[in-house]
Symmetry: C2
Subunit: 495 residues, 2 copies
């Protein structure tokens, strides 16, 4: 979930200075339009990692907008008054009325995340509370509240850099407490719990927005734009007389040019000889792993997604070469059949789930919902927004049932793709692989790119992570896929 | 939740014979319209108590409609094939395609309810699973599936009568297995778990329909009509081109004339002398209970709802007479203030929750949402349908935080109400108590009656049950309220 937020997003001073005055004006206008129309309340949740800029962001929002109509509430330990009421009581008291903006800094999420990270409650108890929160937030949304949930993130390295920098400067040394280093020690545990919480509570109607906290300017613009989008959408809906509860949810606004895909160096070196040697070794290990006793009680689900001509088919063949033909099935996913169209969209995948000891390889998959269906408008925004949580639920269930789920996204550069298209057209036996549709999709790539980034951010979970594969060099791509597969498989089987 | 289902609903042979042919025809027509339009799939869940007529109902539905387009699936222990996949796999496989009807007899609910009733899993684990089911069903609904969830109920006494009757007849004796009596022993535990499950999974989009299983004819018509309503609503929505997911959910159809309110004998005897003696005794016990050390760590929330002039005010005074004025507050609920209107509807109640050791008495309450707002159309059907679950969540949170929640519905007969209205108009000092609004509400009573019954069925929970008070005789009503209050309070405080 934190992939995009660990890319090291940055805005230059010049970029920020250009954006800042426009954004302030727009936010202030939206705030006053809201105040005048009183159509809904805006609730902003501020959560995340220490030092990722939560406090600074709250100050900034107060600076950008009119602070008289923003209510900021910070929640620490509950008072005696509060402890004598139900857990949510103090948050109810802090809800802003229609027309106003409420910023809840430390809110219903803080205590359960801390309790779980430090082992004070079990996972089942955590999930029980998260489901209370989901119901509470669904109620708020149905009552017309605009709920914007920000999670401020810093990578482990980013956290360390920050603490070291503060300590190195005599003027800021006092800001680093012992507790900060203790917390740093627990970073991995906290991150794991946070990821689970974000996934479970990122619903179609109230998704989390994860903010890279490392650069103050980037962070500020990301938050400001997201909030602005959310308010404007709901204000538009008011004007048009829609029931505001039906306004579409938020997706993070693009701020800088950096994203998960363009951060990849697609042309990675690998020569044929190295490739062949590696391939043989990895295929051997894969064959051993799937024939082990441990695997007889597990199953393997592989998902391959990627641009056209990125080399999915070739990579899949390098995997299947290591497997017994009775043990695996490759499932190419194209347009659904009539029978499949008559069912919920996940049905066609449920029917193909492998038994224990078996491998199912999906050449394209359920992610079509948030890729082609989103980009081509085959389903509504509300449909693909809810799909992230539905897909996470689906994969959760697979993993709970003992499946090992691995997902690969294969990326090729535009030039390399063009070359491959031309090669295919030139070679008679490959000509069937290239159609007008492929050329059309190539044109559409700019629309696919944000969809792919959203997909990876929202469905790369602790249980079923995405592996991004730089695929301009087929050798490199195949070896990376096999190596990842073998490593994760062996780890899952306890080898 | 089982209040209405324990009234002993009955249909006479003549009534049934009149309804049966019309209902069959209508169901068959709906089935063929569905088959032709293929707009959605219908999934019927059949759950409930042994012997409450689940099997018979499935047979009947197959008889009434065309069985070629109904798929019945019965789920027992999972097969090896099934155990090797995620829990929901076998249910996904059984989903009917659009245009068809699927009956799932024993489904995702069966195993967790059994596991919890027989102590094999903890409550937190049960809740974790229920939240999976809620998400699964929300997905089905969003995908356009018509989901009709039937729970067939028999009271403990009804269950015993049935088993005894089977045993008494030599021809049917073989049908009673030892397991049936064992199950009967566990009835209370099973019922408690079932109630929790039904409450937690009765959502606005997929509410449970609880069917009184004791009379086969009543049961059949209840099921048939509910199913018919659901299908017709969704078919209408298709015709009008609404997105079918937005069609309103189901409420149980009224079948016989019997309901929770008219089953009450409103004029209960009690003379003034008995009343005064009882009153004094009960008020004394109440005063002791709320002054006890045990109560210092609890709080008390009393809800009074009822028809106009049913005697809420008088009853409340008899309660407060026993309390120290610093310890309680009476909160009369009328139309919300501007400030309250700018918040989610429950906000005005959250702000008035008592601290530990205190008593909050609500004269009318959050139930306005499903009473006056429903009947007068102040909110949409979707709004009041979701309110049952939201209210249950709210009261759950109160109870988890240590509050004792007691709810009283005061019923008076039409004649008695008329008399009281006239008395009020005649007496100068009571004249303020009667307005044109009261006369108008009296006219509207027929519309309120089903709303009250639905409210009691859907919000009378193990944590916060409703007490129905026969209030034609004020003495009786006040004593019943005080006696119930004292008894439940003492029990909750462990006296």
């Amino acid at each position: 979930m934190f992939e995009s937020a660990e890319l090291g997003h940055r805005l230059s001073k010049a970029e920020y200075d250009e954006i800042d005055p426009q954004l302030r004006t727009a936010l202030l206008n939206a705030q006053f339009e809201l105040l005048e129309k009183k159509g809904f309340a805006t609730v902003i949740l501020i959560n995340g990692i220490d030092g990722a800029g939560r406090g600074e962001t709250v100050n900034l929002l107060n600076e950008w907008m009119d602070p008289r109509h923003i209510e900021v509430h910070a929640f620490d330990r509950p008072t005696e008054e509060e402890r004598e009421r139900p857990f949510l009581w103090r948050f109810w008291r802090a809800l802003p009325p229609k027309g106003k903006i409420g910023i809840l800094f430390g809110n219903w999420y803080s205590e359960p995340i801390g309790d779980r990270a430090f082992g004070r409650i079990k996972k089942a108890r955590l999930d029980q509370r998260l489901s209370e929160f989901n119901r509470f937030e669904a109620m708020l949304a149905a009552e017309g509240v605009l709920l914007v949930k920000f999670w401020f993130h810093l990578s482990r390295g980013g956290q360390k850099t920050r603490l070291k920098a503060l300590e190195a400067n005599p003027d800021t040394r006092w800001r680093v407490r012992e507790a900060d280093w203790l917390f740093y020690e627990e970073y991995d545990r906290y991150r794991e719990v946070a990821e689970h919480v974000l996934r479970r509570t990122s619903t179609g109607i109230a998704p989390w927005v994860i903010v890279d906290g490392s650069d103050p300017d980037y962070r500020a613009v990301h938050v400001g734009r997201t909030l602005l989008d959310g308010m404007q959408r709901k204000l538009d809906a008011l004007d048009k007389g829609y029931r505001t509860r039906l306004t579409a949810p938020l997706l993070p606004a693009q701020v800088d040019q950096r994203n998960l895909l363009n951060a990849l160096v697609l042309n990675q070196p690998m020569d044929k000889k190295t490739y062949e040697k590696q391939l043989e070794k990895l295929q051997g290990r894969l064959a051993l792993a799937v024939r082990s006793d441990a695997f007889a009680r597990r199953s393997l689900v592989l998902v391959f997604e990627g641009m056209d001509a990125a080399g999915k088919g070739g990579a899949i063949r390098r995997v299947t070469q290591a497997l017994d033909t009775r043990q695996y099935v490759v499932i190419p996913i194209a347009a659904p059949s009539d029978e499949e169209r008559a069912q919920p969209y996940l049905w066609r995948f449920w029917r193909r789930l492998p038994r224990e000891g078996k491998v199912a390889i999906f050449d394209r998959s359920w992610y079509g919902r948030v890729l082609v269906e989103r980009v081509e408008g085959f389903c509504s925004e509300a449909d693909w927004m809810r799909a992230y949580a539905e897909i996470n639920d689906f994969e959760d269930q697979l993993v709970s049932a003992g499946a090992i789920v691995l997902k690969f996204w294969l990326s090729v550069s535009g030039d390399e793709q063009l070359q491959r298209f031309k090669d295919r057209e030139a070679e008679a036996f490959k000509r069937y692989k290239i159609t007008a549709e492929d050329w059309r999709n190539r044109e559409k790539w700019p629309a696919y790119e944000p969809a792919v980034c959203d997909m990876i951010d929202r469905t790369s979970t602790e249980n079923a992570g995405w592996t991004l594969v730089e695929a301009d060099n087929k050798y490199f791509a195949r070896v990376k896929i096999l190596a990842t597969l073998v490593e994760k498989l062996e780890a899952a089987l306890g080898k």
